[in-house]
Amino acid sequence: MIPDLLAGLQAVFQLQVLFFLIAGVVLGLIFGALPGLTATMGIAVLTPLTFWVSAEQGLAMLLGIYCGAIPGGGIPAILMNIPGTPASIASTWDGYPLSQSGRAGLALGVNALFSLAGQWISILFLAVAAFPIANFALRFGPAEYFGLALFGISLMAGVSVGNATKGLLSGMLGLTLATVGLDPMTAFPRYTFGRSEFLDGISFIPVMIGLFGMAEVLSQISERHGQPQPLPQAMGRIWPGKSEWRQMSAPGLMGSAIGTLVGAIPAAGGDIASVIAWEQSRRISKRKKEFGKGSLEGLATTCAACNSAIGGAMTTMLTLGIPGDAPSAVLIGALLIHGLQPGPLLFRDRGDFIFTIVFIMLLAGLMVAIVGLAGAKPLARTLRIPDPWLWSGILVFAIVGSYALNNSVTDVWVMFFAGLFGFLCRKGNIPLGPLVLGLILGPMMESNLRRALILSRGDWTAVLSRPIVLFFLVATLLSLLWPFLRSASSLVKDKLRAKNSPPAH
């Protein structure tokens, strides 16, 4: 392990890798700070730029964007009450009131510092927990991988809050798209409609660029309302005082722990983590009443939670090959292009690369905090860039980036139609996360199930009765039933409440 660690360290401290990392962090902060531009969009649109460089350099840029965009999203949340990324929704609840009370600088400082704390704690978790998880996963055969993929897909229902059916349908659509191309076992062409371009399946990156880049631009065009809010004139001090540190440290730690665990759940990202952390911190706080009105504890816990989800998501993605959230789903595509398949084998064969990722993320977190603290004011100025300029830029990058993948116009059309489809899905309240999950896990589920059946000579009971498979099957059943159990339990509670409440006179 030590040689791998040293090799990872050596790979990071190369001038070119550091250059790509700095570029990624700055781009990530800008992407996050501009409302509507998300980490997923940034990674998806800029992934094609990394094809011509080494895996380390490409990953440095993409991880820089990932680690920069989430704290960057806190800047408009604090200054304008508009979350820059979905993960910073909860930061508006206390960040904006703080900014309104003349403490915008302090709120931006808390955002930068607790983003660093959240990221580092979760990366520590990645470094410590990932190797044992991957070692355990090395025991998995095709049957276990089938069970794992099935469980990952079943989580779609649980994370599609209030939309369990549509979430599952969206996931099914992702699985459907994953069947396009040559059958993995018999090489029989499926749903290619006679076009040779689809024999290798639908390119993943153009679909991602369309769903998260072009669709977002179209959504913003259709929802544009008036002029943006003005920025606060006075920023005030940035660095928190001693008593403020004391006040924020426990909620910050709690947010980091919650964020890491929630982030590790497939398809549950920083947005869910920060809301849960805010609610839990409010419950145990001595200053409950301040929450939602400019509480430093509230802001610290949400900033730590949404950033620590990054390490959690990366742990699941790297060890099991299942994306923890949308940005890590796009990162899987980027890794595959560089010939690196996330999963336990990556830990066995390329331990040095895992440490490279860990060190890149640690450095990215530090750079984000430095830029966030020193450059909070210039970053706030990026909020003044007119939206139409950004839309045009993203559209052009999305088109050229999709083309750059294989010099293929078909990929550009795939991106265009994926964008249009993604836009319609957003409008129809159909979550896109499950679709991505289905697209990634579909091939894993199908090929492993069929491989397992070949090994067992077609005996289904031999496949499904293996202990780990059985565990995943039970977990799948529970996660599918969870939304229904939850609504049934709230129905019973409501009925009991109605029964016990005194009749109105």
Binding site: L175, V217, G428
Partner: protein, 156 residues
């Protein structure tokens, strides 16, 4: 005298919302049915082993069941989806321009095509000609420099 636009009655809103979910449910039902039926034409597996049609058939059947469930929820009034597209002019204009830009991909110079596309797009979003031209030139230059000269990718 200015007349205030009439707001839609609650009845209209509810029926519109239901209609959207109804369309979504029917679309998924159709896709599921297509998958389930079309997978029947794929070769069968060897012996007890599933063939290439097995997985699409299972997905199709699951999709049909889920679409019927969504249909039931919609008709029972449990599913409510809002579907409002504002700023339709700029949206359709942007989509149309992008479509035309892709149709003409490969014909003419990339730089000229892209600069014209960006300038027209920005004009569509009510930017002044001056800023539209400036941004289009800078953006085209940056993309050409990055992809064509930096990454040595042919964009023509």
């Amino acid at each position: 005298m200015n007349q205030q636009p009439a707001s839609p009655s609650p009845q209209t809103t509810v029926s519109l919302r239901s209609r959207v979910d109804l369309v979504i449910a029917l679309c998924f039902f159709a896709i599921g049915l297509y998958l389930a039926i079309s997978s029947g034409s794929f070769p069968a597996g060897v012996g007890p082993l599933p063939g290439p049609g097995f997985f699409p058939r299972v997905i199709g059947l699951c999709m049909v069941v889920l679409a019927l469930w969504l249909l039931k929820e919609t008709l029972a009034g449990k599913q409510v989806a809002t579907f409002s597209i504002e700023n339709r002019g700029p949206l359709i204009g942007a989509l149309g321009l992008t479509f035309l830009y892709l149709i003409f991909w490969g014909s003419g110079l990339f730089t000229v095509r892209t600069a014209v596309f960006v300038a027209l797009l920005l004009k569509l979003f009510n930017q002044s000609w001056k800023s539209a031209l400036l941004v289009s030139v800078v953006l085209t230059f940056a993309v050409t420099l990055g992809f064509q000269f930096g990454l040595r990718l042919s964009l023509e």
